[in-house]
Amino acid sequence: MDLIPDDFAKVPLGTFNESACSPAVPSGSWDGVRIDAPRQITLDVGDPVMLPICGYYLVPVLSAMDDSRLIVELTRAADGKLLRGILHEEGENEPDEPPPDDAPELSRESLQGVSTGGYFNIDAQRYLAESLEPDRYAVVVIYAGMRSNPVQVEIIRR
């Protein structure tokens, strides 16, 4: 599989920190979602389809608390079909150890005017019900009610 630009091949997917392909964050007072993806993905015979998306968001924390789904939305050029998937990372089998009941929690009131931000490096294909066919796609990510910039991705099978 070849990616253009090929930096995307070096990013560990399913990670949530700043990477070499993280999009530039607008300066100034900005809330929103920014993403980047390879403009072309060339699959060899037998290659599983993979669509890396690297993104950054800074959104009102109260909105994100109310709806924490990170949605990937693709529109297929050939027929205009909309494909949607929701970020879902299961992790390993590990009994979690929650903090004690008296660990301090922030109130919603204290979070007025606060935004929460973070990075993501994901394989969009993992969250879609159907396998992506060679075609051109318009890709956006929706989080906390905010839509990202669209990016165009072309998938080719060699």
Binding site: F16, N17, E18, S27, G28, S29, W30, L58, V61, A64, M65, S68, R69, L70, L87, H88, E89, E90, G91, E92, N93, E94, P95, D96, E97, P98, P99, P100, D101, A103, P104, E105, L106, S110, L111, G113, V114, S115, T116, G117, G118, Y119
Partner: protein
């Protein structure tokens, strides 16, 4: 063969004398007719040594190395196929039949379980034998017990006169070894593992503990790289100890670590509409972040500190002036707030900035979650943390974690696939906790069991989050008794 056949007719001499009563009588005494079966017994270490009742360690192979002189005194007590000896009261060849009686004790395997795993089926057919010339017979390898524990087997033999003799009870159990691998310098390692041994013994699994090993300290196991290093260290320690190594593949390792915390790096928190400049109040921003795992809940998080020496929480801070312009804020101007070690706010001294209004943005590392235990890369490796949330972890929690992780290693919570027993009625998979777990005590059919309400309601050690229970629930214990660990790890 024990039976004497009656002659077709009496001899001529006898006919002249008016018949031969002995020949004509349908009950003819046979030279061996008075031979009776007298016993059937389990053999115990020698052809002439019998035992009335015993324990059969069904998961271990019939090899000298597993005879430990303690629970297991000879090879006859190993494996699924114990030897039997039948005796008649006279020498000669005597016919008899043997079968295993339906075992008591642990509930019987279901037909679906028997269909999945051949070692869930005992030999039900009756088999025919003839004694050797001395009037005895040793039966070796013809009768198979089952892989589960707590099954009480008896064998029955019947001679040609329908005289029946039976063995005493042979009870099946499983045994495996474990070794603790303790990181150097830990201060709160579990003191006694007696309760762990006891819980498994309740379900006919006997745990034998080796002398603990020592491994290199790692202050936190948070990434795959950390886990890989720990796994390698445990392997090295095991392989350096011949006594421990010799018990593979019936060996589990329990590594004690410091924290098992997962870092969420490069989280951004930001507050807009703030006034900065000389005399302005400090800006306080609550620390929140989305979870790294599903359902990716956004909630209060705590700053990453004092978990790994040299790793702090601060990455960078900036002021974005309304209308344009960005000014970096030095680390010295950014502090933390919170109770104890639970630092859930940052506090920014903005007096060094030029007077303006805008947004403060701080990039930090936070704790995504802490784990109580973990399965490592090696098939037989688990680990348990001795500290969590910056505090020593109570013995009860460490015990609970070890029982839980060992539970996974022996096949819990059974989902009715492969060689496993049928699916436990309160089994769940995913739904907020990766892997196979038990929701006993909670409402059935929930989409997400990863809530504090469920944790408090749960009553089984195999619930997916650290609760206060150290025992298998009634649903799980049935499966634990039936599990097949004959392949080891």
């Amino acid at each position: 063969m024990g039976w004497c056949s009656k002659p077709d007719k009496s001899s001529k001499t006898a006919e002249k004398k008016g018949g031969d009563k002995k020949v004509d009588d349908p009950k003819q005494p046979c030279p061996q007719d008075d031979a009776n079966i007298v016993s059937i017994a389990w053999l115990d270490g020698a052809d002439d040594k019998e035992v009335a009742t015993a324990t059969q360690w069904v998961n271990l192979p019939k090899e000298d190395k597993w005879v430990n002189g303690d629970e297991i005194k000879n090879k006859d007590r190993l494996g699924l196929k114990p030897r039997l000896k039948v005796k008649f009261d006279k020498p000669g060849s005597h016919a008899f039949k043997v079968k295993l009686l339906e075992p008591t004790g642990t509930p019987a395997y279901t037909e679906t379980e028997k269909g999945r795993n051949a070692d869930f089926k005992y030999t039900e057919t009756e088999k025919s034998y003839t004694t050797d010339s001395d009037g005895t017979k040793i039966i070796n390898g013809d009768f198979k017990l089952v892989a589960g524990g707590g099954y009480k087997f008896k064998a029955q033999a019947k001679d040609s006169k329908d005289k029946i003799v039976k063995t005493g009870e042979l009870t099946t159990k499983r045994l495996f070894y474990y070794v603790e691998a303790k990181m150097q310098g830990l201060t709160s390692v579990l003191g006694s593992t007696a309760d762990i041994d006891s819980e498994y013994a309740n379900h006919h699994m006997v745990l034998k503990k080796h002398t603990a090993l020592s491994i290199t300290r790692q202050h936190n196991i948070g990434s795959n790289t950390d886990s890989g290093t720990l796994s390698s260290n445990v392997d090295t320690a095991v392989n350096a100890d011949n006594t421990v190594k010799a018990t593979k593949p019936y060996l589990l390792t329990v590594a004690y670590t410091d924290h098992l915390a997962v870092k969420h790096a490069d989280v951004v928190i930001s507050k807009s509409g703030v006034q900065v400049g000389p005399g302005k109040a400090k800006v306080v921003i609550g620390v929140t972040a989305a979870g790294l795992l599903s359902p990716h809940t956004v909630k209060t998080r705590y700053l990453w500190h004092d978990i790994v020496p040299g790793e702090g929480w601060f990455v960078e801070a900036k002021f974005h002036k309304d209308g344009g312009g960005t000014t970096p804020i030095p680390e010295a101007k950014v502090g933390h707030k919170g109770n104890g070690d639970y630092w859930n706010e940052v506090e920014v001294d903005v007096t060094g900035l030029a007077a303006a209004t805008g947004r403060i943005e701080v990039k930090v590392h936070v704790v995504d979650r802490m784990r109580g235990g973990l399965a490592l890369g090696g098939a037989n490796q688990t680990c348990v943390c001795t500290r969590s949330w910056w505090s020593d972890r109570a013995d009860a929690k460490q015990k609970r974690t070890i029982i839980h992780e060992m539970g996974h290693k022996v096949g819990m919570v059974a989902d009715g696939s492969g060689d496993l027993p049928d699916k436990v009625s309160t089994h769940y998979s995913g739904k907020g906790h990766a892997g196979d777990h038990c929701y006993e005590g909670c409402t059935a059919g929930q989409a997400n069991y990863a809530t504090s309400a469920n944790r408090n309601a749960s009553t089984c050690v195999m619930f997916g989050s650290a609760n206060s229970h150290t025992a298998f629930c009634a649903n799980c214990e049935k499966a634990v008794k039936k599990l097949d660990i004959g392949s080891g790890w």
